[in-house]
Amino acid sequence: MTTLLGATGLHKSFGPTEALLGADFGIAAGEVVAVMGPSGSGKSTLLHCLAGIVRPDAGTVGYQGRDLFADTDAERTALRRTDFGFVFQFGQLVPELSCLENVALPLRLGGTRRKKAEAAAAEVMARLEVDDVAPKRPGEVSGGQGQRVAVARALVTAPKVIFADEPTGALDSLSGERVMRMLVTAAKEHDTAVVLVTHEARVAAYSDREAVVRDGRTRQQVTA
């Protein structure tokens, strides 16, 4: 396995709370890895470190051979916009924008012209079967539709890595299945790696393998 994104010996404390205590992780292009473990074990913290959002106290995160935290903040922000996509449990769409504008947003922030960005957004939304809600605001669509809009937004830049933290957590089983199926299909078609934090085994069953976090350490880090 060639590691696309990897971390070794991550430590992170929030005040007296030790969230990560030497976590290791690695993921290859096109691979879907489920990050599992009890509540408070450090899954989200691990994901945030891997995505360059939270700086670890110790340890390194490497992406395509470069040390993520050796970069400047501006470089990391730019990298997140071009190479990474994010899906969270809720509250991630901008309420004032239409669903189409939300999906187009990452491209617009990268400097793509409106027409082109919205055409690309419409295409991804069609793939996720939410083209019908394009003109609506996020407040006017169902939870499942909103989540698929969020997945569309994460996919629109054709990222190398998607970080998904409980992407199906707020959804019923059927909507959750659809989100997972579409996330995984997109990942396999475009060789996108997916770091999938979930506590649901049925959702984790869409992954290629699992990494279990317990007390800030990763276990069963099986290398494919």
Binding site: R202, A205, V212
Partner: protein
């Protein structure tokens, strides 16, 4: 699983030959275990004896595959009764898993290790089911989902048990 009731249910759509019946069964319900001809004909013979099906015609030649069967009124009543009766809730793996977790804790071993090992085995099976579901038709999806939910329930119960007993063990140690 009651093969007799299932065959009766399939005959409600209309009379069929034994061979057609087997094929219809395998297509819809035989994902894991297609029926043997022997099972089909033995079951049909029993249904015939009990008046739940009737022979509706025999094509030239001999052998049960030439015969066509239709469901009787008694057969329809029997299917209805079967559908209206709940299945006994099954206990699956709880006993063994519970024993393992408790024994691990009693012997000072890690219940979490038991959990991790079991989770990874469960997930391996669940991945296969998910692949089959993704590539299959609606019938595949329904059958696989049933297994997936049960396997997930095993894991959730195991996680809760390990957490509960873990806390209990800590209290006892203090």
């Amino acid at each position: 699983m009651s093969i007799g009731h299932t065959l009766l249910g399939l005959l409600e759509e209309g009379p069929r030959h034994g061979y057609d019946l087997k094929r219809a069964y395998d297509e819809r319900f035989g994902l894991d275990r297609p029926l043997h001809y022997g099972q089909v004909y033995a079951t049909l013979a029993r249904l015939l004896r009990n008046g739940l099906v009737a022979e509706t015609g025999t094509e030239p030649g001999s052998g049960p595959e030439r015969k066509s069967y239709a469901i009787t009124d008694a057969g329809v009543t029997d299917v209805e009764r079967w559908l209206a009766t709940p299945e006994k809730p099954e206990l699956y793996l709880q006993n063994t898993l519970y024993t393992k977790v408790v024994l691990a804790l009693l012997s000072g071993r890690s219940a979490e290790d038991v959990l991790d090992t079991q989770r990874s085995a469960h997930l391996a099976t669940m991945r296969k089911l998910t692949t089959r579901k993704t590539n299959g038709d609606l019938a595949d999806a329904l059958i696989c989902d049933h297994a997936l939910f049960h396997l997930e329930a095993d894991l959730r119960w195991l996680e809760l048990t390990a957490a509960r007993l873990g806390e209990l063990a800590k209290e006892v140690a203090e």
